[in-house]
């Protein structure tokens, strides 16, 4: 066998390994029922901010805790404890992805991603 064939086989093995690792590394999108059925396991939960519910950010007592309520795609509302500072322009978000886990009825998020379509597609002509 030629040396280059050997290399090719190694390459293919690595590529397959990368695919498998990516799939096993990748998170799962879920709703709250999944997250609370497997408490302690990390999930990506997609949902919307429940704007009528109270939002608590009191940086004077803890700048790294922000509490709000999110409704997942099925409409289930849960309190989210985000262990970060309150993101900029949080109220404008149209869609939220929280990454974290369920802990006894509360969702503790480590990371948050926000989608703010209003930021880019705010197509209102405003009169001065």
């Amino acid at each position: 066998m030629k040396r280059s064939h050997l290399i090719a086989i190694i390459i293919i093995a690595l590529a397959v390994g990368a695919i498998i690792a990516t799939i096993s590394d990748s998170g799962t999108y879920a709703d709250f029922s999944d997250a609370f059925a497997n408490e302690g396991k990390e999930f990506h939960v997609v949902g919307r901010l429940a704007k009528d519910k109270e939002m608590i950010y009191d940086p004077l007592s803890d700048p790294n805790l922000f509490i709000f309520t999110m409704a997942d795609d099925k409409g289930t509302e849960k309190k989210i404890f985000l262990h970060k500072a309150k993101p900029q322009e949080f109220e404008l978000s149209e869609q939220i992805v929280v990454i974290g886990k369920g802990v006894s009825g509360e969702f503790h998020a480590r990371e948050i991603l926000m989608k703010c379509p209003s930021k880019y597609t705010d197509n209102q002509v405003r009169a001065e």
Partner: protein
């Protein structure tokens, strides 16, 4: 209805130019096709003229669009969408390429310019390569057409009028004849109002354009079945692409580091990844071509790599512009409904390129015997393949949204992207560093083993000593990173040795050594600055979140009250100049100021005194800012102090942006019964009871009133419930004098700064009237801040400069040959 003030002539001219550039692209593709077939000089001449027309019309479109932007012609949708009357002149160019249409124009402009260079240099390759270049121009020009083709929208026209745009249909402004005098543009995204954004997009697009020429050469070689003569003319193009695209990608990193607040220069964001990956395959392709030229091998690999590089550039445009990344990236373009068209563009060149390659596969010469283990070509080839695997891994994970779309899988991107990518990329980087270090001491075909070992002995020893010093000095513990540190230091050492060896032959010879050194410096710099970065703003107050689990202990933000001084978290001390010996800063927030559209926060960094009680020494101040943008949302921008050996990076996470609230007071009136609650902005007040005071009460005497003249004095007992604090009581007094004059004694709550006047009594209703004054600045101003120290990040930037410079030198050397 006639609208006032519109200047429609520019729109007509623009549309004419767009059609002209599209038709000219089509024409030059056809003419060059004929020229390639008949190889007649007459066809070639007219093809050149038409191609020049295409380039000039593209340039005119850009100038026209710039003219409209500079003159704030908001009757044009593109101008309205990407700028406003306040956009500073120097950012108008950023407005030009903020939108997809503008970036397509820029891409087409660079392609055209490179096409003209190609016409001048390609000689017999001119017609066969220019067909591909012109075809690419056809596809890009079609993105600007903005016409309906049997119900399918082709392209998005940058000269469409605001009132004609589909999103604006039936908007009230369109019914007003003088709407133009009443509107302003939407403005440029504040994130793009940064000087890096003036230079990063054009450089990146020039890099993209530079991948087209090698692709055109490879396709031409397959087309006319000359598998080995195209490499020499293609080589300078490839390495120009390596230099420019590499610079463009790194500038994107510099922009992210300077202007974005995620804290770093690389976040493995899909948009970043998709521009890095073609660079990796281009580097691999370039080295494969060097093997072609020097030892007549690996032709198939070169063809495949150059085709795939261009396809990856198209794939990158598809990812960023089709809206498919939506959820996963911060800086993708918005979807203009052109994903179908982009997909056709991608598939056309992917299928055409690979079909040509497969058709020729059997005829392309391939080597018969084994390469020698100690030959440069063997390691260059293996290195190129490692680069391929590395780019495959990156693009596969980046494509998760695409995989979801095609297969309907519900995969989410890795929970921790940096850890995911690093697991794979660190070993690849180790191999590449090793090969790029040893490679230049290997000769083509075969190398004397003893000579080679002697050559690399010194670099190995130096790298061992240096990495040991760094590992101990900075306490790097992860084994994979220790190996990467050693191999990249080895590469730096070996290539530096190579540079000194060849320097006698003039600077021109040092190009590849310098480029390799730069690349290894980028690796070492990225490793140290990222792995050893320390968040020095760790919060010392507040609730203990570690109880919830270890991963929740990211107390990376610190609360700073104005005027207070806090000690930052320690970081491994780096002995240098004016820095703090103990690796600690004292930090103080001094206040904020409004500068134009920016609120600047002044943060002082100080050195603690030698002993406790000594005064701190002021070192420097940073001004992280928040750019106010009511239309698109405020944007926090970091500020960074650069030292030779480390950077101190700071940004404000949360702050009250109200800059003039000195003693602003809010007065409210309330008529209520005992037991009712008054809600205030940060507290509640409940009247608990009323007492009649004797007219000679000490309260009245202290207020300076004469008891003899008084008829009645009533004291109200008010409970004040303060947020997060214990509740208290205040006692305002209401007084009626004998001649029916009313006076009152106010009481103030010291905690909240709320003062209450008891101004009336309604005995028949059983109610009282209170006037409450809240002082709004009762609480001290504060910010939530994050500060990170990035050690030795300058190694990375210096490496970037060296790599680009070295590559440019080798290109010049090649061209001179």
């Amino acid at each position: 209805m006639t609208y006032q003030g519109e200047q429609l002539i520019y729109g007509y001219a623009g549309n004419l130019l767009i059609y002209l550039s599209f038709t000219a692209a089509l024409g030059s593709a056809l003419l060059y096709f004929f020229a390639s077939d008949k190889n007649e000089i007459k066809w070639r001449k007219s093809a050149r003229i038409i191609f020049l027309v295409q380039f000039l019309s593209t340039a005119c479109i850009i100038l026209l669009l710039l003219f409209l932007l500079v003159n704030h012609r908001f009757e044009y949708y593109y101008v309205w969408q990407h700028s406003n009357s306040e956009t500073p002149l120097h950012y108008i160019v950023s407005s030009l390429w903020e939108g997809q249409e503008g970036s397509f124009l820029m891409w087409m402009f660079w392609n055209g310019m490179l096409g003209i260079f190609l016409v001048k240099t390609a000689q017999k390759w001119e017609p066969v390569t220019m067909v591909t270049v012109s075809l690419v121009q056809v596809f890009i020009a079609s993105m600007l057409l903005g016409i309906d083709f049997f119900g399918y929208k082709i392209g998005s026209n940058p000269f469409i009028l605001l009132r004609d745009h589909p999103d604006m249909a039936n908007m009230p402004f369109a019914k007003v004849p003088d709407y133009l005098s009443k509107i302003d543009g939407r403005g440029l995204n504040p994130l793009l109002q940064n000087y890096w954004m003036l230079i990063h997009p054009p450089v990146l697009f020039l890099g993209f354009a530079l991948t087209l020429i090698p692709f055109a050469y490879a396709v031409a070689g397959l087309w006319i079945k000359e598998y080995d003569t195209w490499q020499k003319p293609a080589l300078p193009w490839i390495f120009s692409g390596v230099a420019v695209l590499g610079a463009g990608v790194l500038m994107g990193g510099a922009w992210a580091y300077e202007a974005l607040s995620f804290g770093g220069f690389w976040a493995w964001d899909p948009v970043e990844n998709s521009s890095l990956v073609p660079w990796l395959t281009l580097v691999a392709g370039g080295h494969s071509l060097l093997i072609n030229i020097h030892s007549r091998q690996s032709y198939r690999t070169s063809f495949a790599l150059l085709i795939i590089t261009f396809v990856l550039v198209l794939y990158s445009t598809f990812l960023t512009r089709s809206g498919i990344l939506g959820d996963t990236s911060v800086h993708a373009f918005t979807d203009l409904g052109m994903s179908g068209q982009l997909l056709v563009y991608l598939l056309f060149f992917a299928i055409a390129g690979f079909a040509l390659l497969l058709k020729n596969w059997k005829q392309i010469p391939s080597h018969r015997q084994n390469e020698h283990l100690l030959s440069r070509e063997f390691w260059m080839f293996t290195g190129a393949l490692v680069l391929c695997i590395s780019s495959f891994q990156i693009i596969f994970t980046t494509s998760i949204p695409v995989i979801n779309k095609i297969f309907g899988a519900g995969l989410a991107p890795p929970v921790n992207p940096a850890a995911h990518y690093n697991t794979w990329q660190v070993p690849f980087a180790v191999i590449i560093a090793l090969f790029s270090g040893a490679g230049l001491f290997l000769k083509f075909r075969n190398t004397d083993r003893k000579l080679f070992l002697k050559d690399i002995l010194l670099p190995v020893i130096v790298a061992l000593i240096l990495s040991l010093a760094i590992i101990l000095g900075l306490s790097i513990k992860r084994p994979d990173l220790i190996v990467l540190l050693f191999t990249s230091l080895f590469s730096i050492g070996a290539n530096t040795k190579y540079i000194f060896r060849v320097l006698g032959g003039g600077w021109m010879k040092a190009g590849k050594g310098l480029a390799h050194t730069g690349f290894a410096m980028i690796l070492a710099g990225a490793l140290i600055s990222t792995h050893k970065s320390v968040v020095i703003s760790q919060n010392s107050s507040g609730i203990d979140v570690t109880a919830l689990g270890k991963e929740f202990s990211n107390r990376e933000n610190i609360l700073l009250m104005v005027g207070d001084t806090l000690r930052m978290h320690a970081w491994p001390a780096v002995p240098a100049g004016r820095q703090v010996g103990r690796g600690e800063y004292l930090v103080s927030y001094r206040g904020k100021e409004l500068h134009g559209k920016n609120v600047l926060f002044r943060i002082d960094f100080m050195k603690p005194g030698e002993k406790d009680g000594d005064t701190a020494l002021h070192l420097f101040s940073l001004f992280p800012r928040v750019q106010l943008n009511p239309k698109m949302g405020n944007v926090a921008e970091p500020d960074t102090r650069h030292f030779l050996t480390n950077d101190v990076y700071t940004f404000v996470n949360f702050a009250d942006l109200d800059t003039d609230k000195n003693d602003s007071v809010k007065i409210s009136e309330h008529t209520i019964s005992i037991g009712d609650t008054i809600l205030l902005s940060n507290s509640m007040i409940i009247p608990v009871n009323l007492y009649r005071l004797p007219v000679n009460d000490s309260l009245i005497l202290m207020a300076g009133l004469s008891p003899d003249s008084l008829e009645l004095a009533v004291k109200a007992e008010l409970e004040i419930i303060r947020m997060k604090k214990k509740s208290g009581y205040i006692y305002p007094v209401f007084i009626i004098s004998k001649n029916n004059f009313i006076s009152f004694i106010d009481d103030e709550d010291k905690e909240t700064g709320i003062s209450v006047s008891f101004v009336r009594i309604f005995p028949e209703m059983g109610k009282i009237h209170l006037r409450i004054t809240e002082r709004k600045n009762e609480s001290r101003d504060f910010i939530i801040m994050k500060a990170i120290v990035f050690p030795y990040i300058n190694i990375l930037w210096a490496g970037a400069v060296a790599m680009v410079l070295g590559t440019v030198i080798s290109v010049i050397k090649r061209i001179k040959k």
